[in-house]
């Protein structure tokens, strides 16, 4: 196949057809302050060695997550991923970025997707799970659309303590479809009264557990209140490891469960690609977005795997499809499946207990410092602290002392009052006693 680039007359013809004067006109929706005038000042050519040295020097200005005591969470978590995961995902039987078309020829891919779905259903306590979404936030957005299809209602009530990135994706998908959102204000101590906001117009209630600040809640009363108004309960999570210890959403009445699977098998990857988990009750399976793998037998009675219920999908059902997402980040999904298989049910539970124990030890050490208040009464492996110091300064000064202390909460809620002194702190199995001691002593100095 020849690759034929566009000619200038081609470009002009296309621009004229849509009424744009220039290529730059296509970017007018980007706020002006975010646009750059002119080209970046780069040399036209440079030897590979020089480029490597230059970029290496730039990269060395960063403080990589693995190089210092690291306590940053807020939706992406640093865990230990065994080297076996990386080795296995690179086997040629597996290595693909995509759920295959002509799928049945790729039995290895279909089998791991089937096992992935089984894992997700078991973790969440739900009946069925799909073959994954892009990430937790897109899964959350799709869950809201799914609830609207099921209930034939249009209003989503979001917990104010839902991760703001998840809320933003819900808003993005809802805005242009004319759906209504009741977003709620952040409540840092887990006492949010979301039930009061559920009414007859409500299609779904979206609650994160543990929530952004770390609070772990019993969601049964919210489920009952939602169901009484014929609304669905959507439970989101950003830290999948929590499901090894916290009661699964399915056991607390959730109708749809969505979340981020990055913690298992996947590095921080600068924020993506990640792997979105999506599970639901069996009765809603036909309204689920994304692909589903099923187990079957072939003409000779042998076990095999197929893509199933494809009639819901866009390549068959076009504009009536359950979603325009019929793909996933397959490699991240594979890494998740392999890592979780290596851990096993017991290993996963043990990993969760280590995470929680480390977070509790850290919280105890920080709580003992003058001026530090733990504002989340319950938590799994992430909690929020309040100090007398502005969180931006605190995190900068801690970084200068070689400790990456956490996420400045106000960064996620620009314009919201009373969050400036809050830092969300995560502690996973990677943290050692020495890491915690470094955190506590650096924080003591920064606050003195």
């Amino acid at each position: 196949m020849r690759y034929l680039p566009l000619t200038e007359p081609d470009r002009q013809a296309m621009l004229a057809r849509i009424g744009a004067g220039s290529i730059d006109d296509l970017f007018i929706d980007v706020p002006e302050e975010a646009r750059r005038e002119g080209l970046v000042d780069l040399p036209t050519r440079q030897g590979e060695l020089e480029v490597e040295r230059l970029l290496g020097a730039m990269a060395a200005k960063n403080t990589p997550a693995g190089s210092v005591p690291f306590f940053v969470g807020g939706g992406a978590y640093k865990h230990h991923v065994p080297a076996t995961v990386d080795h296995l995902i690179q086997r040629s039987e597996f290595l693909t970025a995509y759920t295959p078309y002509q799928p049945e020829i790729s039995q290895g891919t279909l089998q791991y997707l089937f096992e992935f779905q089984t894992q997700v259903a078991m973790l969440t306590g739900m009946d069925v799970a799909n073959a994954s979404m892009y990430d937790g936030s897109t899964a959350c957005g799709e869950a809201v659309l799914m609830a609207h299809r099921i209930t034939r209602k249009k209003k989503a009530v979001l917990s104010g303590s839902l991760h703001p990135h998840y809320r933003a994706v819900v808003e993005n998908l809802s805005d242009f479809a004319g759906y209504e959102i009741d977003p709620g204000a952040p409540v840092i101590d887990g006492t949010e009264d979301i039930i009061a906001r559920i009414d007859d117009e409500t299609s779904c209630v979206v609650v994160q557990n543990p929530d952004f600040f770390g609070n772990v809640r019993d969601l049964r009363a919210i489920a009952d209140a939602a169901h009484a108004k014929k609304a669905l309960l959507i439970v989101a999570f950003t830290e999948v490891v929590s499901l090894g210890l916290v009661t699964p959403p399915g056991e607390m009445g959730a109708d749809i469960v969505v979340g981020e699977g990055q913690s298992i098998g996947n590095a921080l990857n600068f924020g993506g690609p990640y792997v979105g988990l999506f599970a639901a009750k069996q009765k809603y399976v036909r309204q689920m977005p994304g692909r589903l793998c099923g187990e079957t037998v072939d003409a000779e009675g042998k076990r095999g795997f197929v893509l199933t219920l494809s009639t819901r999908e866009q390549h068959i059902r076009r504009e009536k499809a359950t979603s325009n997402i019929c793909t996933n980040s397959g490699l991240c999904c594979l890494a998740f499946t392999i890592h979780l298989s290596l851990l096993g049910e017991e290993g996963f539970g043990r990993l969760a207990r280590i995470n929680h124990a480390n977070a509790v030890k850290l919280a105890d050490q920080l709580d003992a410092l003058d001026g530090v208040e733990i504002v989340t009464p319950t938590f799994f492996n992430e909690f929020t602290i309040r100090t007398p110091k502005n969180a931006r300064d605190l995190i900068d000064e801690m970084a200068d002392k070689g400790v990456l202390a956490g996420v400045r909460v106000s960064r996620l809620w620009p314009g919201e009052d009373n969050l400036d002194d809050l830092v969300a702190v995560a502690s996973t199995e990677i943290n050692t006693d020495a890491d915690r001691a470094a955190f506590a002593s650096a924080l003591k100095e920064v606050l003195s």
């Binding site: 009639t311 819901r312 068959i316 059902r317």
Partner: protein, 125 residues
């Protein structure tokens, strides 16, 4: 007295008094192939002629079923939940979809009788 009417969307409408039983025709089930799922509306829903009233899903495709008349859904064929294959076995009998209370009997006059429908489908092949 009961009469069966047909639409160009391959639905049949059996009118008994002011209640119409609605399903898809034998021709439609043959075209669809094995039916694996039927999504039915909730009882009590008001539908206008042309509204989407159900979805029938076969191994080949999912197709919308549009209300052939205006009225209220008074009963749905719950048996299709467990055994959607009834639509293949007996499309114009046990494989019925919904019963509707008619709002406007004059709409029936726009529908085809059996002979006209047979002529219509003969022209499609």
């Amino acid at each position: 007295m009961s009469t069966v009417k047909f639409t160009e969307d391959h639905e049949w409408v059996l009118v008994e008094g002011d209640v119409a039983t609605i399903g898809i025709t034998n021709y439609a089930q043959e075209q669809l192939g094995d039916v694996v799922f039927v999504e039915l509306p909730e009882v009590g829903r008001e539908v206008a002629k042309g509204d989407e009233a159900a979805v029938v899903e076969s191994v080949k495709a999912a197709s919308e079923v549009y209300a052939p008349i205006t009225g209220e859904i008074v009963e749905i064929n719950g048996a299709l939940d467990e055994t959607p294959a009834k639509v293949n076995e007996d499309a114009q009998g046990a494989g019925w979809f919904v019963k509707m209370k008619l709002s406007d009997t004059s709409e029936l006059e726009e529908l085809m009788d059996e002979a006209a429908y047979n002529t219509f489908t003969a022209g499609l092949d």
